[in-house]
């Protein structure tokens, strides 16, 4: 079961990686101090950290320069508000029961509805880190990561286009995918998925009778 | 039959024959090359069959295509320069007709017997550049313009290797008269051995190679098809043409391929004749009339051989970028052709 590759072995035993992941958290804390608000480690799997929004670029620089994270994977955002339209899978004729609309953030906590999410990886140790930042709804701005990773340009354009988060210092913040005149920010949860509004989903267990079989009544739901 | 080809056909009859012959000499090679090489050879090389529906084995496909192109709408872009746009394909086709006039098909089956046939041919072949430039400019389309400009640069650059390659033949034949070149090749001998006459391809193989490469570039075939680089410029200078005008470009492209093949077989492969030694001829007087009929057939065969090489290279090679193409012409082909001339001259004087 040996593996031939053009360089030597890379440590892939889980314990080694966890050791590296813990070291990442420690090094980041020593680099940016209390701007690192929270962290979360899933053993053998991955590591999450959360930083303050005003330290977003600073954290990026620390990740690149001090933690050796030279590979920029992606940058995006998460809107933690549950969709007021539900999952659009319920019977549209039934009464709308109460929907739970509390905002519950995920790993590494959070206090705001919008959170930045980015991932960077080290090309030498192949260990990556997910980094989040709370973005306050009153001031939906974070600093641009372009001075940190040039590739962030397109990702920030897409995040702005989809969520409405501004990136201070971005030279050319314009639409990536949508036409220039498009209004609204589609990936926000309060922006409805128009296809489901136009034609409601007929139901999760959508069973039609087989052709030729005498069905009891038309349509399961 | 022989009487038809006797020398006392009235002048108007000869002119009619010449006009008809000209049309046939241009369209027949075009059609044959298109069917045999473009439809069938290319398909077989690409492990597919090609057109099979129209006629037995797709032989009527060409007529079907002609019919299709003819019945299309006569479009031209709004901002195109009308006169230039309409006349550009005709200019390109015109140059083909003017080229074929100088090719001899038999001892008497000629359109005209230029004393400076080679010079005339080389001069006239540049007229197509004008047509292409006109097409590129008049189309009011950036793609066409780019294609036209690329074509102009390329075609002018590759005129020179073509000229220089042919000079070696002229030196060896001591004449520019195409008819004399053919006769000399068939009647001649190599160092006294006349088993196959003296086809200039043997002694002028370098010249033949340079000529073939230059012809490939003159026809804007791959690897020199920058002007029509399909994956970049859609169709280059031909982008805005459709219907009958595109058909003329299409015919002109393959007709020119045919005519250049005819020229190559005239100058390098012995033209319409067969080596005299095979039949123990001392002159062509007895077989004049026969050769007037057989000569064109032999020319067609030799033309197909040369066209095969042109088309084979076209389907196999990727295309060169235009700066690489220019470098190749100026820094490689021209010095090689000049060297060929030098060596030929030395050997001609020595032997």
């Amino acid at each position: 079961m040996s593996r031939l590759s053009s360089t030597g072995d890379t440590p892939t035993a889980e314990l080694a990686s966890d050791h590296l992941r813990k070291a990442l958290i420690d090094r980041l804390r020593s680099a940016i101090g209390d701007a690192l608000v929270d962290s979360y480690l899933v053993a053998g799997v991955d590591v999450w950290v959360r930083v303050r929004a005003d330290a977003w670029r600073q954290a990026g620089l620390a990740l690149r320069d001090q933690l050796g994270m030279d590979y920029f994977c992606y940058l995006s955002a998460i809107d933690w508000m549950p969709s007021p339209f539900g999952r659009s899978e319920d019977d549209p004729t039934a009464e709308v029961t109460e929907r739970d609309d509390t905002i519950r953030q995920g790993y590494a906590g959070g206090e705001t509805r919008f959170q930045m999410l980015a991932r960077v990886v080290s090309s030498s140790t192949h260990v990556g880190i997910n980094i989040k930042a709370d973005v306050s709804e009153n001031d939906l701005t974070v600093e641009s990561w372009i001075p940190v990773y040039t590739g962030a340009n397109w990702h920030e354009r897409e995040t702005w286009e989809m969520f409405g988060i501004n990136f201070a210092g971005h030279p050319d913040l314009r639409h990536m995918y949508l036409p220039t005149e498009f209004e609204g920010f589609p990936l926000r949860k309060d922006f409805p998925l128009l296809a489901r509004l136009v034609k409601p989903w007929p139901g999760i267990a959508d069973v039609e009778p087989m052709p030729g079989v005498s069905g009891d009544d038309e349509g399961g739901e | 039959m022989g009487a038809v080809f006797a020398a006392d056909i009235p002048y108007w009859g000869q002119s009619l024959l010449r006009a008809l012959g000209g049309a046939v000499a241009v369209l027949l090679p075009a059609g044959t090359i298109v069917y045999v090489f473009l439809f069938k050879l290319m398909s077989f090389m690409q492990s597919r069959l090609g057109p099979m529906e129209a006629g037995p084995y797709g032989s009527m496909q060409l007529f079907a295509e002609v019919g299709k192109w003819l019945q299309k709408e006569d479009l031209y872009p709004d901002r195109a320069d009308r006169f230039l746009f309409k006349s550009a394909p005709l200019v390109v086709l015109l140059s083909t007709f003017m080229l074929v006039v100088a090719v001899p098909f038999g001892p008497d089956a000629i359109f005209t017997n230029f004393d400076n046939g080679v010079l005339y041919v080389l001069a006239v072949s540049s007229i197509s550049v004008l047509g292409i430039l006109m097409a590129g400019w008049a189309s009011a389309n950036k793609y066409s313009l780019l294609g036209g400009l690329r074509a102009a640069g390329q075609l002018i650059a590759y005129e020179l290797p073509m000229v220089l390659a042919v000079v070696g033949v002229v030196i060896q034949a001591e004449t520019m008269n195409m008819q004399t070149i053919v006769v000399k090749q068939n009647a001649g001998s190599i160092f006294g051995w006349d088993g196959i006459g003296n086809p200039y391809i043997l002694t002028q193989f370098v010249g033949f190679l340079v000529f073939m490469i230059a012809v490939q570039a003159e026809l804007t075939q791959a690897p020199f098809d920058m002007p029509i680089a399909e994956s970049e410029l859609v169709a280059g200078y031909m982008t805005e043409y459709s219907g009958f005008r595109f058909l003329i470009f299409f015919i002109a492209e393959f007709a020119t391929a045919g005519v250049f093949s005819l020229l190559a077989s005239t100058m390098f492969l012995g033209g319409w004749g067969l080596p005299w030694s095979w039949f123990n001829w001392s002159s062509l007087d007895e077989v004049h009339n026969v050769m007037n009929v057989v000569g064109p057939l032999i020319m067609v065969t030799k033309m197909m051989l040369v066209a095969f090489i042109i088309m084979w290279a076209r389907f196999s090679y990727p295309r060169l970028r235009e700066d690489q193409l220019q470098k190749f012409a100026w820094k490689f082909l021209i010095p090689v052709a000049l060297g060929n001339i030098a060596v030929t001259s030395i050997l001609k004087v020595a032997f």
């Binding site: 593996r3 589609p186 949860k189 989903w201 | 597919r48 399909e230």
Partner: protein, 390 residues
């Protein structure tokens, strides 16, 4: 290497000079050329706006989004099996490979692993989709450069792989075969022998393409030294897959992370190239196809027996949590960040597609190149529109 440095310097100088000419000389305006969205060269509806000075590019910018289908919004209203069907269509040439990271993320959240037989067959189908995808790239490479013959061989030999995928999954292009906990069905009888026979044919195809295309001097003249991406720039932009390995970075997600798939059970090699030019990228993909055929051969010999699906409930509710899984897809690194709240479907899915990052480098890369080189560079970066636009 000096040739490449020299070329790099020259193209930088040319870009600066071209820029200066366009700005200063008012008579000769630069021409703005629009390549696409309908164009024979781009793999779909990509539009490149290029400002030219003669034949040289002063500034070029791709304009994506003509095929944006709103995947990330669609996933918010679908269940996990429905998303599997949806996600096939991101990179439609190597479809099965799109499903795998998503299913693995869901399985990670559920804390289950597919049985070994399912893992093994997943890996076989993954590598088959890599072969299907990249062999088309090899044929298409010829067409972009003007050689019209290799593409027919590519399509002909790709049919073998597509037939295999169809025999196993029922779909040539969109298998929709992966399920949380395993695969939908077991393999048909005789499939493994057929696969090995087809792999032999594909190795022949690779040899043919190597002779016909890569050995050709014109091909080498068109691709060597063109579009050089240095290693640091590649990492900054998040280039992945063959593009990254062509710049000298030894990184392959199949080898460098432990996923419940079968790559660590076979012998195979990771290919890198120091040059970082178009030729390197194309050459590495050729070697990867060969390597994939060898992987499939070895995997077909060692398929373990057992169940094809773990015990999962019929309607699956994935527990609350977040997971990121990325795999070495044919186009590069494709990953899914799945946020689940305990429903039958995810709360948010972020799709990290390889071509998005790969193409984001083109504004930087295309400065100062000639128009034909635009096509060569785009061909060598190799993108699928569905992957850029999602």
């Amino acid at each position: 290497m000096t040739m490449i440095d020299e070329r790099r310097q020259l193209s930088y100088i040319a870009a600066q000079a071209a820029d200066a000419r366009v700005n200063v000389e008012l008579e000769t305006e630069g021409m703005t050329l629009n390549i696409g969205p309908q164009h024979p060269a781009t793999h779909g509806t990509l539009r490149i706006i290029a400002r030219l000075d003669g034949e040289q590019v002063v500034w070029a910018e791709p304009s994506a989004g003509y095929m944006h289908r709103g995947y990330e919004k669609l996933t918010e209203v679908r269940t996990f099996p429905q998303i599997t069907a949806l996600v096939n269509r991101i990179d439609w040439l190597g479809s099965f490979a799109n499903e795998v990271p998503f299913i693995l993320a869901a399985e990670q959240l559920m804390g289950i692993e597919a049985p070994p037989r399912a893992q093994h067959i997943r890996t076989i189908l993954f590598e088959l989709s890599r072969i299907a995808n990249v062999s088309l790239f090899l044929g298409d490479l010829g067409v972009q450069l003007g050689a019209i013959t290799p593409v027919f061989m590519a399509f002909r030999d790709r049919e073998y792989v597509l037939n295999l995928i169809e025999a196993a999954t029922g779909g040539r292009f969109h298998p929709n075969f992966d399920r949380i906990g395993g695969l939908k069905d077991d393999l048909p009888k005789g499939w493994l022998e057929d696969t090995k026979a087809s792999m032999h044919k594909l190795r022949t195809f690779c040899g043919e393409i190597e002779d016909l295309l890569f050995g050709n001097e014109i091909f080498q003249a068109r691709t060597r030294g063109v579009g050089i991406i240095p290693k640091e720039v590649a990492l900054q932009y998040g280039l992945s897959g063959a593009n990254l390995r062509a710049s000298g970075v030894d990184w392959d997600l199949r080898r460098d992370q432990s996923l419940p798939m079968a790559w660590d059970k076979v012998d195979w090699k990771v290919w890198t190239h120091p040059d970082g030019d178009c030729f390197a990228r194309c050459w590495i993909r050729l070697q990867e196809v060969r390597e994939a055929t060898k992987i499939v051969d070895q995997l077909c010999d060692t398929v373990p027996s057992g169940p094809i699906m773990a015990k999962v409930p019929r309607i699956i509710k994935v527990p609350e949590g977040e997971a990121w899984v990325s795999t070495e897809n044919p186009l590069g690194e494709m990953g899914y960040y799945v946020v689940s709240k305990g429903d039958t479907g995810p709360f948010r899915v972020k799709i990290r597609s390889a071509s998005f990052n790969n193409i984001s480098i083109t504004p930087w890369l295309l400065k100062g190149v000639l128009v034909p080189d635009i096509i060569t560079i785009l061909a060598s970066l190799y993108f699928i529109l569905g992957d850029i636009d999602r």
